[in-house]
Amino acid sequence: MGGIKMAAAEKGTWTVKKGLAEMLKGGVIMDVTTPEQAKIAEEAGACAVMALERVPADIRAAGGVARMADPTVILRIMDAVSIPVMAKARIGHFVEAQILEALGVDYIDESEVLTPADEEFHINKHEFKVPFVCGARNLGEALRRIGEGAAMIRTKGEPGTGNVVEAVRHMRRVMSEIRRLQNLPDEELMTFAKDIQAPYELVKQVKELGRLPVVNFAAGGIATPADAALMMQLGSDGIFVGSGIFKSSDPARRARAIVAATTHFREPEVLAEVSRDLGEAMPGLEIANIRQEERMQERGW
């Protein structure tokens, strides 16, 4: 066509980082540890996969230091599927993030599931072309992560437990803080920002939008189609399932059911149908039986 001189294409912009998360909405992102699992997830309708060496339940059981996965594991999974592939870096470990970006992963999860590499500071995510997702338990934490450049937020929940109670707590807290903020007069916003330790500009933006300025998924303890629909009804934009699929007795079937439940989350008839005969869910953990210092959600600052 030619004619008018066109501006050059711009990569790694805020719009394209945030935009990929918009495209994942209403979908299920599944933890996988092998190319075979990744194919099962894609075949079941996952909108993306998270490439890991071990799912959170196994990380919890193994103990010790959990790090970024071996690049070979990630690359084999990237080769196996056509959907986006995410991978986890330790909190504050910007070199693991640089490596993941060099591998060409589609999203980096700066994740409390891995052992933090920095107990004071998170990664400066603005410096990267690849977008980041981060966990949050409340509005202040979510806005601090967005302030650092996260283009997507998820609840922390309590990973590897198959117990949805913490994800519910975190989603409810964020939603209720947003509702409270919307009712505040403008002169109270600075003190609100100070109290929740969040950047003022983002607090103002949340008040105007009535929601977070980026997509907000649920994660940490989701194990059934009903759990997924519960989180969607509480206001999640989509679902991460970690251990919940490949620690269950029939992963393919459970994965398909959770995908269908995330689309039809407001329809009990559909939920009843897809919840039938799924076999055993992953074994669950009671949060009260996990010592405070072993709770992954406490990681992050």
């Binding site: 990569k11 394209v16 935009g19 398909r256 689309t263 329809e267």
Partner: protein, 190 residues
């Protein structure tokens, strides 16, 4: 007038917002009975494999094909473009397969290669259209009656075939409503 927005997965909310900005009611479509009474259908961006599988599971592929064959306008963005194309290179995933086109998925690369750029789109007027491409496809080839409406770097990124419209980019992520308005014109003329 009501326009349906397929709501299996993806950025359907943004399309409904763009329609609302034009004073049009967008209706989320998750079941075939919800197709009744709509004047057109938008298939949003998202994961084309996910959307296609859910369309099969909830019996939407055939009803949408029939409505499109009867002349109902259908507009697909990104994953929607993939689902509209007859041939998807290297994939046997479920699709509507209505447009005489061969599509390449993730054709510009992975997420780090996603980009935004000003595009020349003659049917929308002389002002360039700021287009957002996210792990975007392009059409490798189209055959008549499909026609090319825009290209970027020699790749086909917007095409029309009668009542079908497809873009590789995401007009729902910007405030420029000209693509949606063009689709409304297709509905009115149809």
């Amino acid at each position: 007038m009501k326009i349906g927005v397929l709501a299996m997965q993806g950025a359907f909310r943004e399309h409904i917002k763009s329609l609302a900005a034009l004073g049009i009611q967008g209706e989320e479509i998750r079941h075939k009975n919800q197709l009744e009474g709509i004047s057109g259908l938008i298939i949003p961006g998202g994961e084309s494999t996910t959307i296609g599988k859910l369309m099969v599971e909830f019996n939407l592929l055939e009803p949408v094909r029939e409505l499109a064959a009867a002349g109902m306008p259908v507009f697909g963005t990104c994953a929607g473009m993939v689902l509209l194309a007859r041939d998807i290179i290297g994939s046997d995933q479920p699709r509507l397969g209505l447009m005489n086109a061969r599509v390449q998925r993730n054709a510009f690369g992975r997420q780090v290669d996603s980009f935004e750029v000003d595009l020349e789109i003659p049917v929308l007027g002389p002002e360039p259209f700021h287009a957002v491409f996210i792990r975007a496809p392009f059409l490798e080839a189209v055959e008549p009656p499909a026609e090319v409406l825009a290209t970027f770097d020699g790749k086909i990124v917007m095409a029309r075939q009668g009542n079908l419209l497809a873009t590789a980019f995401h007009p729902e992520l910007t405030n420029d409503l000209r693509v949606h308005r063009y689709f409304l014109e297709m509905i009115k003329q149809g």
